[in-house]
């Protein structure tokens, strides 16, 4: 048993000697913890977020991931860590620039500075061990960066983390993260009891002595900050009355697969999608589920199709390059009307692009990327919670309409954490099993309904349902069609199914003003940033609204009407769009962003776009700026 209370008694006495410093109350703060990879900044950041969330704060965490497994130490490319946005109320995105940064060396700090991730003049807590580095180049580098930052107005604090940690551990590299956590708990007046619980749980599997050491480090960090720092904050929290869960988007996807009743997930590892399958691999077997790591994405998709064909809808999870490989098989599932859920956790592209970075450039590929006319359903998850529920919805639609449902998420959602209300299981989540009633003799496997294109599905094992499913054009009996009329029929009915689904979709709710100057339309993980930006601009008296689309194909009714109520419409997207500022770009040559293309094509409306492809989530400040420019006619 771990005694959580023991460590702190003596310390509390010691601390009480100190005069309390003034506590500044804040609405929110953005904190970053960054280090070389392997120093545990990610665990520190996540723990900090979890403790704040348990206190009732709104949080959004963003992982800062180096692209290599073992980047060189003290390098700009190696910056690894976590950004945690903590607020009094709910948080929907990672926010703008950081207010406080803890850096374990000056190089990783530079990485964030160069990426424009630090608010000017923000607080920087910098590990000071490098001052005395044996290699004079390291010490020089430390002082150079540090002095420049001070000259630029940043509030830099040199913190002897290494020295302090060495009181407790032989290798401070392995303990600093908990020292930092302790400092953050002090700085933000977090509940140390919760912090201790967090550590006890996080290190439980490693045994008591590890837990005790980490608790000591936590306390040491806390006390050091209490005694040596001249500032202290508090972000008042309001605890939500109902239980919340905190997971990242990929875990939410895995939980959603579990909750949907799907039983087969076939995949091939690809960043940033893989962790969803890692999670599922741990838990799926408990309900008879199987995660099959196939030999490649084509096989994964074909395996899922085989499993779906034989009974119940299966899922295949991938990212952009893997999605491209699956395209031919997806065409087969559309043609054979086999239910299938495909998840594309988008990353930067094309090609290997930016594997760990956020981008949403696969929308058009998902809608139209296959060969021939292959109508399928495309959904975009906008929040972590959506990642969970979209799996349940996707399976239901796939099984109801016997079609492929593609769910797009992205690297931002994959690794971000945000609390949401704990899902309450209901049996409706498990879509009804395949219709097992007797098949009448002579019944046809594609007996398309003239209005909806729907037909009953026959599954192997069912007497009188025998037919040969084929990717060739086929008639209602699944016989290869040589008659031109039959091909026309097949395409028509497969297309009608999307119309049938479209009739059931609700118009997405409008955020902000229902009419006015500018309407912002978005999809996917940008929802939080867009709505926050719209909120800010409205505070300044502008009439602005936003619309966030969950179904990208088919599009719900009412979108055109919503757009008509605004003078200008623009999309905000994390994907490429040509800029009219480039000499050769004009209305004839401009390539639009994905959603912009879709809206223009469908609604014949002059839609503009603001987009960014910097491999990171879009910031609300940048969106607000873009909206203002649009309002002022500057774009």
């Amino acid at each position: 048993m771990v005694e959580l209370g023991l460590v702190s008694d003596e310390r509390r006495r010691r601390r009480n000697r100190k005069a309390a410093k003034p506590v500044v109350t804040l609405d929110e703060h953005i904190v970053e913890v960054i280090s070389d990879s392997g120093e545990g900044a990610q665990r520190c950041g996540q723990s900090f977020g979890s403790i704040a969330a348990r206190m009732g704060n709104g949080i959004w965490t963003v992982e800062i991931i180096p692209a290599e497994i073992q980047p060189p130490a003290r390098s700009i490319a190696g910056a690894s860590g976590n950004r945690i946005r903590v607020a009094s109320g709910p948080v929907t995105n990672g926010g703008d620039e950081a207010d406080l940064v803890v850096a374990l060396n000056e190089q990783v700090l530079l990485a964030r500075l160069r990426a424009d991730e630090l608010k000017s003049g923000c607080i920087i807590l910098l590990e000071s061990e490098w001052q005395g580095a044996r290699d004079p180049a390291i010490a020089d580098s430390y002082f150079q960066v540090r002095d420049e930052l001070v000259a630029d107005g940043f509030q830099v604090y040199d913190i002897p983390m290494e020295e302090e940690c060495l009181h407790y551990v032989a290798d401070a590299r392995r303990g600093k993260n908990m020292f930092v956590l302790g400092m953050l708990c002090s700085i933000y007046s977090l509940d140390m009891r919760l912090a201790r619980e967090q550590i006890a749980v996080a290190f439980a599997s490693k045994g008591d002595s590890v837990v005790q050491t980490n608790l000591q480090l936590l306390d040491a960090g806390h006390d050091w900050a209490e005694d040596n720092l001249d500032f202290k904050f508090e972000i008042p929290a309001t605890r939500s009355p109902e239980p919340q869960i905190v997971v990242n988007g990929n875990t939410a996807l895995g939980l959603g697969v579990l909750a949907s009743g799907m039983e087969v997930c076939a995949m091939y590892p690809i960043t940033p999608a893989t962790s969803a399958s890692h999670y599922l691999s741990d838990v799926f077997e408990a309900v008879g589920g199987v995660v099959h790591q196939a030999e490649d994405e084509i096989a994964a998709c074909a395996f899922a199709i085989g499993a779906s064909y034989a009974g119940k809808c299966a899922v295949t999870i991938t990212s952009g390059p893997g999605y491209s490989l699956k395209q031919e098989a997806i065409g087969l599932a559309v043609m054979g009307e086999i239910p299938l859920v495909v998840v594309d956790v988008q990353r930067g592209g094309p090609s290997t692009g930016q594997p760990t970075k956020a981008e949403q450039g696969d929308l058009l590929a998902a809608c139209f990327g296959g060969h021939g006319d292959a109508p399928k359903v495309i959904m975009g998850a906008a929040t972590i919670e959506d990642c969970f529920y979209s799996m349940i919805t996707a399976r239901k639609i796939a099984e109801t309409f016997h079609t492929v449902v593609v769910v797009l998420t992205d690297a931002n959602l994959a690794t971000a954490q945000q609390p949401f209300p704990r899902p309450q299981f209901t049996e409706d989540w498990l879509a009804p099993p395949v219709d097992q009633s007797t098949i009448g003799m002579g019944a046809k496997p594609y007996d398309w309904d003239a209005r909806t294109g729907l037909a009953r599905r026959f599954v192997p094992g069912q007497p009188f349902g025998m037919h040969c499913l084929t990717g060739l054009a086929h008639d209602r009996g699944s016989r290869v069609a040589y008659d031109p009329q039959i091909n026309q029929e097949g395409l028509r009915h497969r297309s009608l199914k999307l119309a049938a689904l479209q009739k059931t979709l609700k118009t997405p709710p409008l955020f902000g003003d229902p009419e006015g100057d500018v309407l912002v339309v978005g999809w996917g993980s940008t929802q939080g940033a867009i709505e926050e930006a719209v909120g800010r601009v409205r505070k300044d008296g502008h009439k602005v609204g936003s619309l966030h689309l969950k179904f990208l194909q088919p599009l719900a009714s009412g979108i055109k009407e919503a757009m008509a109520k605004f003078d200008k419409v623009m999309t905000v997207e994390n994907s490429w769009c040509d800029s009219l500022e480039d000499e050769l770009i004009d209305e004839d040559s401009r390539r639009y962003a994905n959603l912009e293309w879709l809206l223009r094509a469908r609604y014949l409306v002059d839609v503009d776009c603001w987009s960014e492809v910097k491999g990171r989530p879009i910031k609300p400040g940048a969106v607000a700026q873009a909206i203002l420019e649009k309002l002022n006619g500057e774009r």
Binding site: P241, P243, G261, K312, E328, L430, Q436, C468
Partner: protein
């Protein structure tokens, strides 16, 4: 998984399935195409085994040979070029109770689908796989195949195929977990039937390379072997083929080969002339993927709820008390 409906239908003697019960559409292969013989052998097997047609699934890719499922009466899956094996694996994983057969061409299996072929051998799932090897691309009208003999003139190799052919038998026998490898020829139907029967009864991935004549594009390819029985080496064994006396009279060139002998199987496999016919290798003890992976799908909504709640517990931040504990470090 969807539980199979129990087929407790008692079939009286006169209700036995006949060959006609397994016949699907009228085959459209060329006259004399070896695929016809494979079809006949499989239909005979189904009849002999009295397989309920609704419990059979015939999976294929694309090619002349991949039209096979259309000509059977059962569930068929005529998918995309090269991907028949992963589709069949998904079916078997979801429904281990179904009898799964795969028809694949030499282009389908040994070119575009090679990765799947190699891995299917490793997975060793219970299915009967027939490689219809006509040593040329038929459907697309005579391009070179990985199994085309060196020097073969095709439309893409008008000056003759450049490379040594790939040998599907040695490749299969070289993969870890191979559990059943046999070779048949379309022109000895009796043996083909016996081989397919053994393959069907083997629990695991049963791979049969069938040398299949394509009179349309390569009318002479197998003629020397068809004409001269001495150019065929029959593999016989009490655990393997036992040809009838009449057949043995024609095919006198025989070797007693124990299918358990992998080393000898590899040697035999590497000989192209005489053509070995029979069971090269069989090992019933190889693990099967559908068995090593959990197959108990008897869950209920309650089990799903239970598992989900247990997971959600791990991630739940309860609206706990306000942290006003003695031990709190708050100022």
């Amino acid at each position: 998984m969807t539980d199979p409906i129990p087929q407790c239908v008692f079939r009286a003697e006169d209700e036995r399935y006949t060959l006609a019960d397994y016949q699907g559409e009228e085959p459209r292969w060329c006259t004399g195409c070896g695929d016809n013989a494979i079809l006949a052998a499989v239909q005979r097997l189904c009849r002999d085994e009295q397989l309920p047609p609704e419990r059979t699934v015939f999976v294929s890719g694309i090619g002349c040979s991949s039209r096979f499922p259309h000509y059977m009466n059962g569930y068929g899956f005529h998918g995309i070029h090269g991907r028949s094996l992963p589709v069949a694996e998904g079916i078997k994983m979801a429904r281990p109770d179904l009898h799964v057969f795969v028809s694949t061409g030499d282009g389908d299996c040994c070119s575009i689908g090679t990765a799947h072929w190699i891995h299917a051998i490793r997975y060793n799932m219970d299915m009967t796989v027939m490689l219809h090897d006509n040593r040329v691309y038929g459907l697309t009208k005579m391009q070179v195949s990985p199994t085309s003999p060196q020097g073969l003139q095709t439309k893409t190799t008008p000056r003759g195929a450049y490379l040594e052919p790939l040998n599907p038998l040695t490749v299969t026998l070289g993969v870890a977990n191979a559990s059943f490898v046999a070779q048949a020829v379309d022109w000895i139907p009796e043996l083909m039937h016996d081989i397919i029967e053994s393959a069907f009864h083997h629990k695991g991935f049963s791979f049969i390379r069938v040398l299949q004549r394509c009179p349309e594009f390569l009318p002479d390819m197998f003629e020397p072997w068809v004409q001269d029985p001495a150019k065929t080496l029959l593999l016989v064994h009490e655990d393997g083929l036992q040809p009838s006396p009449s057949l043995s009279k024609t095919y006198k060139n025989q070797e007693a080969h124990d299918p358990a002998d992998l080393t000898r199987a590899r040697e035999i496999a590497s000989v192209e002339d005489p053509i070995p016919v029979g069971i090269l290798y069989r090992n019933d003890d190889m693990p099967r993927y559908e068995e090593i992976r959990p197959t108990d799908r008897s869950y209920t909504p309650d089990t799903i709820k239970g598992a989900l709640e247990a997971e959600l517990d791990k991630f739940t931040i309860a609206p706990a008390n306000g942290g006003e504990d003695e031990d709190t470090a708050k100022p």
